[in-house]
């Protein structure tokens, strides 16, 4: 019976994917019956069917260039891990974006984190325009823009008068955070990290929206959201206090601000 079920799950995985419960069941069956089945044979069979029908459209040139550049960076870092580690930036404002797809191995996630971290160093707003202006433009022009106000928390980083908002357009995948009332941080000890809780993603793994500092001399900051992963249905936003450089998955022990979208 268990062999039959094992094969059933392998076929299901190859054709339509498994739920978490089914995946757990499959893992247990494979553990109990090592060598009975090559766990990938049905996936290879499905891949062969795909290849039989695949029409092989050409990769768009701009996408190809982007992927090739990404590949060169990954390979360079694999070749020179020490140098890559030294090259980790300590910028004033940094965005670090990570993918949490369950199918990606932790190593890929870590690498993506390092790469994208380097890719998205904040270098100032485009063409001399400030972020406030671009934020206002988004508010004026994007038909689906949402504005969600921040609420202070009891964390010591958050002053009682903490305020501001998150502005986000799903169609443009563009947004800005405006914050005042956060305590200035020492970037060598901790940094703030912005998160987007996408209702269509696993809530354990919100999409990182960037690592930033709160300068002592500034009452208010406005920063762009540079989500590397597409956001489908944002339900909540948060700012946490993290180690310098941010983290891939927050333990959420220090939540400084929350912005809950009203239904």
């Amino acid at each position: 019976m268990s062999m039959r079920r094992l094969e059933e799950l392998l076929i299901l995985r190859a054709s339509q994917g498994l739920s978490l419960a089914q995946q757990r069941e499959l893992d247990e069956l494979l553990r109990d019956a090592p060598g009975e089945f090559d766990a990938q044979e049905y996936e290879y069979a499905a891949a062969a069917v795909e290849m039989a029908f695949n029409e092989g459209q050409e990769l768009p040139p701009s996408l190809r260039r982007k992927i090739a550049a990404q590949g060169q960076r990954v390979l360079a870092q694999k070749q020179e891990p020490a140098r890559a580690a030294e090259a980790s930036p300590q910028p004033q404002e940094v965005s670090s974006w990570v993918t949490w797809g369950g199918w990606l191995a932790a190593a890929v996630v870590l690498l993506a984190f390092l790469l994208l971290f380097q890719d998205q160093i904040f270098e100032g707003s485009p063409q001399g325009r400030d972020w406030a202006e671009l934020r206002q433009e988004l508010l004026d022009e994007a038909g689906d823009v949402i504005l969600v106000p921040w609420s202070a928390t009891e964390d010591e980083a958050s002053l009682p008068e903490a305020s501001g908002d998150v502005v986000w357009s799903n169609s443009r995948q563009e947004g800005y955070i405006r914050i005042s009332g956060l305590r200035p941080n020492d970037p060598s000890r901790s940094q703030y990290q912005f998160w987007i809780f996408d209702q269509l993603r696993d809530q354990r793994f919100p999409v990182s929206g960037g690592v930033f500092d709160m300068p002592a001399q500034q009452d208010e900051i406005i920063l762009p959201i540079r989500n590397w992963l597409r956001v489908y249905q944002p339900g909540m936003f948060a700012v946490t206090v993290e180690q310098p450089g941010g983290v891939m998955v927050s333990d959420r022990s220090r939540i400084a601000l929350l912005a809950q979208r009203q239904p």
Binding site: S15, Q16, E41, Y44, A46, V49, M51, L59, R230
Partner: protein, 181 residues
């Protein structure tokens, strides 16, 4: 036989372009077919190649070709994405399914051995069974969606897909055995 994934695993920079030459179109067409927008497909293709750049060393030539490995990785990613977005509005392309590839003589020679073996296996299936396989494997529809759209009992759809994939698997194993003799 290509060893571009081995070259990637060894850190050979020039292999990146070779890999895109060989498999860029394959991955793009899978992503495009599974995605409702080009933007989603572009995001997915980047993630798939990021996975390949990092996990190329996991390719085991004893299990299948490089191309099959790449297609498998791409399908996994796309199935994962589809299941996450279960409420997606999609219409089943019942009227525009691709024709049986073995009937396209011009493409026979260009296709890999695995693709030819799969085609041969699909040749022996009834039209309804072949349609269920294509909708499931090539378009990512769930068994329940196929059942509803084709007015076929769910158990029958499951059986079509199960028997079809078993047949393809057997053909691949036989082909692999013959090739190694």
């Amino acid at each position: 036989m290509s060893d571009v994934l081995q070259q990637i695993a060894n850190g050979k920079a020039s292999a990146v372009e070779d890999c895109l030459d060989l498999y860029g179109g394959l991955v793009w067409s899978i992503a495009r077919r599974f995605s409702s927008t080009a933007a989603q497909a572009e995001e997915a293709v980047q993630e798939i190649f990021l996975h390949l750049w990092q996990q190329a060393s996991r390719f085991d030539p004893g299990k299948g070709s490089e191309k099959a490995f790449v297609a498998m990785v791409a399908r996994r990613r796309m199935i994962d994405e589809l299941r996450r977005l279960e409420n997606r509005p999609r219409e089943l392309p019942l009227e525009n399914l691709p024709e049986n590839p073995t009937s396209r003589a011009d493409q026979r020679l260009e296709r890999s051995l695995e693709a030819q073996l799969a085609s041969r296996a699909l040749d022996g299936l009834k039209p309804d069974q072949r349609r269920a396989i294509i909708l499931s494997v090539c378009y990512g529809y769930t068994h329940a969606e196929i059942s509803e759209a084709t007015s076929t009992p769910l158990g029958t759809v499951k059986s079509y897909i199960s028997r079809g994939l078993k047949k393809v698997r057997e053909c691949l194993l036989e082909g692999k055995g013959a090739a190694s003799r």
